[in-house]
């Protein structure tokens, strides 16, 4: 049976739910081995966190270079594992770090690369949504071991518990991969909310908030949602840039996207129009975002959202 490698995804020491998604896609192609890169002495702790999804085996490599030298060190060892294991495909989470690791690994391994897949089929065809989600593309890697990055939250994950076998292997990180040094790392400040690109629900605010995100945040919190912002809002300094949804910010594809006071420039649409259900609240009945809304409320977000927040609290109790 052919073998598929997935690069285990962690935020700090916490395994993300993307692992089960990568494993689910990978299991269509072959037996899934998760590759876990951990600091020295912490391999078994990291490996134990990879326990959901159809994962048959875990390969653990311990090195302090992964944290100290980042992308280059991880790609160095991943390429060595590919050479040793000859997998049918390698799947990696599609975020900044994952895409960069995939990029360097593809160069080292002499392999084609596809990024931002929303699905991968048994014959290793990747589905991508391009041009702001307006076009569906199917593509295949035609050279070397296919290296594919898969967007979090895109694949319907099989999250049954798994008890993979664990093997610890040792590889050395070359000096060429230690040229950049990380001196400190701060995890993202989440304020207890889910990560934007992983969240099932995203509630976002734009120009219409006039800089006051309290109604948006309260509504997000009652839904257990992540908070996003339009470029107008982040440019005005009303919300941190890292929360920007749109062409030059994050691309999100949640079950539910609630846009508040966002007119819906193409720039913003490009980052959210593949959301399953779209709700729009805006004072301006002509706001272009209403065109793609499943449910729209023409009204003041400061009137609509507090009532909706109360309504959801009542619904839950």
């Amino acid at each position: 049976m052919s073998k598929v490698l997935i690069l285990a995804d962690f935020v700090g020491t916490k395994a993300t739910k993307t692992n089960a998604e990568l494993a689910t896609a990978g299991a269509r192609i072959g037996e899934v081995t998760a590759v876990v890169f951990a600091p020295v002495g912490q391999g078994s702790t990291y490996a134990a966190a990879i326990n959901r999804g159809p994962i048959a085996k875990i390969i653990v490599v311990e090195s302090d270079a992964f944290a100290a030298n980042g992308v280059a060190a991880v790609a160095d060892v991943l390429a060595q594992i590919i050479a040793a294991q000859s997998p049918a495909a390698v799947l990696v989470a599609s975020h900044a770090f994952g895409k960069e690791v995939a990029a360097r690994t593809a160069v080292k391994a002499g392999s084609g690369i596809i990024t931002d897949a929303v699905d991968v089929s048994a014959d290793i065809t990747a589905t991508q949504l391009v041009f702001g989600g307006s076009t569906t593309v199917h593509s295949k890697v035609s050279h070397g071991t296919p290296i594919i990055t898969v967007r979090p939250n895109s694949v319907d994950a099989n999250t049954t518990e798994s008890t993979p076998s664990v093997e610890t292997l040792s590889f050395s990180v070359s000096d060429a991969s230690k040229k950049a040094t990380v001196t400190s790392s701060q995890p993202p400040v989440q304020g207890g909310r889910p990560e934007l690109t992983e969240a099932n629900i995203v509630v976002s605010g734009g120009r219409g908030t006039n800089g006051d995100f309290s109604a948006v945040e309260n509504f997000a919190d009652v839904l257990g949602a992540a908070v996003g912002a339009s470029r107008a809002a982040t440019d005005a300094g009303w919300y941190p840039h890292s929360y920007q949804v749109g062409q030059t910010g994050k691309t999100v594809s949640p079950q539910l996207y609630v846009a508040n006071g966002i007119s819906g420039a193409i720039q913003h649409r490009a980052g959210m129009q593949t959301s399953k259900t779209i709700v729009v609240v805006n004072k301006d009945p002509e706001a272009p975002l209403f065109e793609i809304a499943d449910f729209g409320v023409v009204g003041d977000l400061f009137a609509v959202l507090p009532k909706a927040t109360e309504g959801i609290k009542a619904h839950k109790s």
């Binding site: 280059a72 975020h95 990024t115 062409q247 079950q255 720039q267």
Partner: protein, 261 residues
């Protein structure tokens, strides 16, 4: 310092984009300098200006490097009018449909030949949006990778660069010795508008055109191929209500009906 800035000409963000035979149709759309590359050009100028400038005798030279069809000279010219010294455009019909691997191989070959201390890129192009070329360049050039920088400090005497890296995984402080490949996020700076003087000066600056033979790289073709591309159906028009005081409740009912709460 020798600074290379990699830029790409892309279809205007507002233009409707289409695929023809599995390749983005670049001919029939308005094309501009990739927005995110303007931050790279600006950062290169600021780094040079902080350390003697890039005018004659200033000790720094900034070269823009691009790959694309002839018309990409327009995008390159914009970078020149912002104040970059000169430019190299790799243009060859064999490069049509090149993927990120081929693009990075071409750019790396040009950069290597020129010698450099710093290579500065935007984080991604607004057309392909892969965000992989800077990492591939670092790999190919055997240079330090300092990407997704929201702040760059250069010490030319020590040959050292320190950056603040900002991604969804958090904030990292990183440093490395020359040579480095840097990518910068928007927000690192506010790109300048070309001045009239800059636009006039840019007309006299050299854009050296090279084909693949001159670069010394053979075209391998793309290592990933598009099987099909289909426009997605437009979303069906949904329900739209006007808030008469019950908009909030109606919204909750909709979410309950859809089992989203």
């Amino acid at each position: 310092m020798k600074i290379a800035v990699c830029v790409k000409q892309v279809p205007d963000s507002w233009a409707e984009k289409k695929m023809v035979n599995g390749i983005l149709d670049r001919e029939n759309v308005d094309a501009v300098l990739n927005d995110l590359d303007e931050y790279a050009v600006e950062e290169a100028l600021r780094i040079a200006e902080a350390h003697g400038g890039n005018e004659e005798g200033g000790g720094n030279i900034i070269t823009v490097i691009s790959m694309g069809p002839e018309r990409a000279t327009e995008a390159v010219r914009k970078a020149l009018s912002m104040g970059v010294n000169d430019a190299i455009l790799v243009t060859d019909p064999k490069l049509a449909g090149a993927d990120a691997l081929a693009t990075s191989a071409v750019l790396a070959a040009v950069i290597e030949k020129g010698g450099f201390d710093l290579v500065i890129c935007g984080t991604e192009s607004t057309d392909a949006r892969m965000s992989v070329v800077p990492a591939m360049l670092a790999e190919r050039l055997n240079a330090a990778q300092l990407t997704f920088a929201s702040k760059v400090d250069v010490d030319p005497v020590a040959g050292k660069v320190s950056i603040t890296r900002v991604t969804e995984a958090g904030v990292d402080e990183m440093h490395a010795q020359f040579p480095c490949v840097i990518s910068v996020v928007e927000k690192i700076n506010e790109p300048r508008y070309p001045s009239f003087k800059g636009i006039m000066a840019a007309k006299k600056k050299t854009i050296e055109s090279r084909d693949l033979v001159a670069v010394g790289v053979s075209a391998e073709g793309a290592w990933s191929l598009v099987a099909d591309a289909t426009p997605r159906p437009a979303r069906a028009t949904g329900i739209k209500v006007t808030d008469d005081g019950t908009g909030g409740e109606q919204l909750v009912s909709f979410l309950a009906e859809k089992k989203l709460i």
